[in-house]
């Protein structure tokens, strides 16, 4: 039923091919999970992709078309998505407007909200995991780090999310975090779309903490109760949070509502950070310009 025509990528646990679904002629991507290399049987990332993509059905989340075994390899058949947001941000030949950014943020937030309402954390949101379909729809992809929102007593690893998009509670070693970590990543992506360069590009995990707090202020127990109890907190440099004016200067093209939304998503204290619902209901999405029609975005 499926052909593998062209190898388009290779990761630690999978090789990705372009192919065609023979019966319909539909273009598809096939993620072939390498199985021989893992001593513990099927790799956890594959288990997670299969487990969560099987449950999610939303226009802004990548579609799992089919799964099959072949030559003792597990193959995930996914919808074909030719490009991603990282490509768009980096390619200076591509001009995009505030209305385009609004449309991308709206679609991304809808996709992530759908994951959260199904009690699934993504834990690796970044521009190159936000793929773009031929008709301009943003699709949240790569659920290799996803997990169900934990039961209260579960202990989670803080070593998740690609560094530049990692929330401060994770940087400080939190083990009982929530869906707020995904919202932080989206806030950084929003900033990056407006700046067209990475917003908080730390060189390493320690530098990431410093870069984050230098840009957004070092949190204190006053605004984030308990933050000083993190073992890594003591060695931190203290920086003042940026004034609204400084933020305006940094994000010249951003409207007041856009700055409100970004600040809500980048609230240090995860308990106070906006949820995807609050983000979707922000006035940024109802003020002019309206979000572009995805199919018209170049």
């Amino acid at each position: 039923e499926y052909t593998k025509e062209k190898k388009v990528g290779e990761g630690t646990y999978a090789v990705v091919y372009l192919g065609t679904k023979q019966s319909t002629g539909r273009k598809i991507a096939i993620k072939e999970i390498k199985t021989s290399e893992f001593k513990d049987g099927l790799d956890m990332s594959a288990i997670r992709e299969v487990k969560y993509l099987q449950e999610i059905n939303h226009i802004n989340v990548i579609e799992l078309v089919d799964i099959f075994m072949a030559y003792n390899n597990l193959n995930l058949v996914l919808e074909y998505l030719p490009t991603d947001l990282e490509v768009v941000i980096k390619d200076q030949n591509i001009l995009f407007t505030p209305a385009d950014i609004k449309s991308w943020m709206l679609m991304t937030l809808r996709g992530v909200y759908h994951c959260h309402r199904n009690f699934i954390l993504h834990r690796d949101l970044k521009p190159n995991n936000l793929l773009i379909s031929p008709d301009g729809q943003i699709k949240v992809a790569d659920f290799g780090l996803a997990r169900a929102i934990p039961a209260p007593y579960d202990v989670l690893t803080s070593n998740v999310v690609t560094r530049w998009y990692r929330a401060p509670e994770l940087l400080l070693g939190a083990k009982h975090y929530t869906s707020a970590v995904d919202v932080w990543s989206l806030g950084i992506i929003f900033a990056e779309l407006m700046l067209r360069i990475p917003y908080l590009p730390g060189q390493n995990d320690v530098d990431q903490i410093d870069v984050t707090f230098r840009a957004l202020g070092t949190p204190t127990d006053k605004d984030w109760p308990g933050v000083s109890k993190f073992s890594t907190y003591t060695q931190l440099q203290t920086y003042p949070p940026p004034s609204r004016d400084e933020l305006r200067k940094r994000f010249i093209a951003a409207s007041e509502n856009a700055l409100d939304l970004m600040s809500g998503m980048l609230t240090m204290n995860p308990q106070k950070r906006w949820t995807t619902i609050q983000c979707l209901q922000s006035e940024y999405f109802t003020e002019l310009p309206p979000p572009s029609d995805p199919s018209t975005i170049k």
């Binding site: 209260p152 083990k175 009982h176 975090y177 929530t178 109890k229 993190f230 308990q271």
Partner: protein, 47 residues
């Protein structure tokens, strides 16, 4: 879901287990919120 089949009413919930967690620093600092927990449990009950 336009109509949830429950009203979250944290004040009346006697749930020592969850309440205890709100006193633990590593939970508070991590972003732990009782309303997130209750909402999930109630959603699963009325799904």
């Amino acid at each position: 879901d336009p109509f949830k089949r429950y009203i979250m009413n944290e004040i009346v919930y006697e749930d020592p287990f969850i309440k205890d967690l709100t006193k633990k620093n590593e939970y508070i600092a991590s972003g732990f919120r009782t309303d997130f927990v209750y909402d999930r449990l109630l959603t699963e009950a009325f799904m």
